[in-house]
């Protein structure tokens, strides 16, 4: 059964659903790439690293001391030197 203000309600739900959908791979602005679930990351040398957490962060700035994982170092990089997203 349709109600008079049906259209408005539907738009609202769609907007909510847009925001609330989960992504498995997320590129964080000026930060790492988040990977959800089990995955194996192969680094530039061909070495494979399996994820061990519900969500993992893969370094994109190249400055981490714990490659391939992000260690927060990207935050110490001056704004101008940041990789763009």
């Amino acid at each position: 059964m349709s109600l008079p203000d049906d259209t408005e309600t539907e738009t609202e739900i769609q907007t909510n659903a847009d925001i609330e959908t989960r992504a498995d791979i997320v590129l964080c602005p000026d930060g790492p790439m988040l990977v959800r679930g089990q995955a194996v990351i192969e680094d530039a040398d061909g070495t494979q690293h399996a994820t061990t957490r519900p969500v993992s962060a893969v370094c994109r700035c190249g400055r981490t001391s714990r490659a391939p994982w992000c260690d927060g170092t990207h935050k110490l990089i001056a704004d101008g030197a940041r990789s763009s997203t």
Partner: protein
């Protein structure tokens, strides 16, 4: 389980004495904050802060030989109400106006990035002594031995959506992702024992400086009040977002001081874990919460700001004590 701490004034004196005795239905009135006769034995900040910490602790691990019914005793709730009211008022008074744009996550990230408080990790990375490192571990043990627990209260307060699933996702990692060996507060306990310290929660409460107890009280209060769920999640986000880099510095400092691998491992775990948690906490947890409940935005910022401010107060107090401030 820990023993009750030593009182720090008239209020905690009465509280500790009551909890140490038999459970009774009715307690005598609590000493007033501002006695009408202007006498000097009113409870001061150190006294009140310890009393509130003891009250909160009843809801976590409790104390040895203390009747578990005290947790919900109406007379204790009256005192908790008064002390939390005072704390919340103090925190809100300190909170400055934060410039807002239409991108809430960027505002929150900006507020955290602008933090330039003193850093204990930076000091210990290169300069601090072994004694200072061990002292810091004892201070931190008040929180780290129940790490993630204050935020866990928030889960049932969230209506649903991304904020809730993301919070549980991060908490799952904090609680070891199904592996008891990886439970974060157990990792810390193992590190403490390896250093020859006690891993009993609250064991070092007598040593804890008021600033550390206040940090713990704020986290517990935010977590335990549904009304303050915004502040709880903002606090959590700021905590996670300021943990990765300092954890790396601390791990380096502890290695330099040749402290055991187990305690280094605790901080090393937090380098990677919190680099992830930071992103999820900012974007999904706080961003998701505010998308659903926009009225909570200000409280999220309050929580984040408070987390940074209280850590700065603790760091200043410790550096002053070590005469490096």
């Amino acid at each position: 389980m820990a023993s009750l701490p030593a009182p720090r004034g008239p209020l905690s004196e009465v509280l500790v004495q009551s909890l140490g005795g038999n459970f009774v239905e009715q307690l005598p009135a609590w000493p007033d904050s501002e006695p009408v006769d202007g006498s000097s034995d009113a409870p001061g900040p150190a006294d009140e802060t310890l009393a509130l910490w003891v009250l909160h602790e009843l809801s976590y691990r409790g104390f040895t030989d203390v009747d578990e019914r005290w947790e919900w005793h109406p007379d204790l709730l009256v005192l908790r109400w008064r002390l939390e009211g005072g704390l919340e008022q103090r925190l809100r008074k300190r909170f400055p106006t934060i410039e807002r744009t239409d991108d809430f996550v960027a505002d929150l990230a900006g507020l955290i990035a602008a933090d330039d408080g003193p850093s204990l990790a930076r000091h210990l990375q290169r300069h601090g002594s072994r004694e200072q490192a061990l002292e810091l571990l004892r201070q931190r043990s008040i929180y780290h031995l129940k790490e993630a627990d204050p935020t866990a209260w928030v889960v049932p307060r969230l209506p649903g959506g991304r904020a809730k699933t993301a919070l549980v996702e991060v908490q799952f990692d904090e609680y070891g992702a199904g592996d008891p060996q990886r439970l974060h507060h157990e990792l810390f306990a193992r590190g403490m024992v390896a250093c020859g310290l006690s891993a009993e929660p609250g064991q070092y409460a007598d040593e804890a400086i008021t600033e550390v107890l206040e940090q713990n009280n704020a986290g517990s209060m935010f977590g335990m009040h549904r009304r303050l769920r915004g502040a709880a999640l903002g606090h959590f986000a700021a905590f996670e977002a300021t943990s990765s880099v300092p954890s790396r510095q601390l791990a380096q400092g502890l290695a330099r001081l040749e402290l055991p691998d187990e305690i280094q491992a605790y901080y090393e775990e937090h380098v990677e874990a919190d680099a992830v948690h930071e992103q999820v906490a900012l974007r999904d947890i706080c961003g998701g919460l505010v998308a659903r409940e926009p009225d909570l935005a200000e409280d999220v910022l309050l929580g984040a700001w408070t987390c940074l401010d209280l850590e700065a107060r603790t760091a200043s107090a410790m550096l002053e004590r070590w005469e490096v401030a």
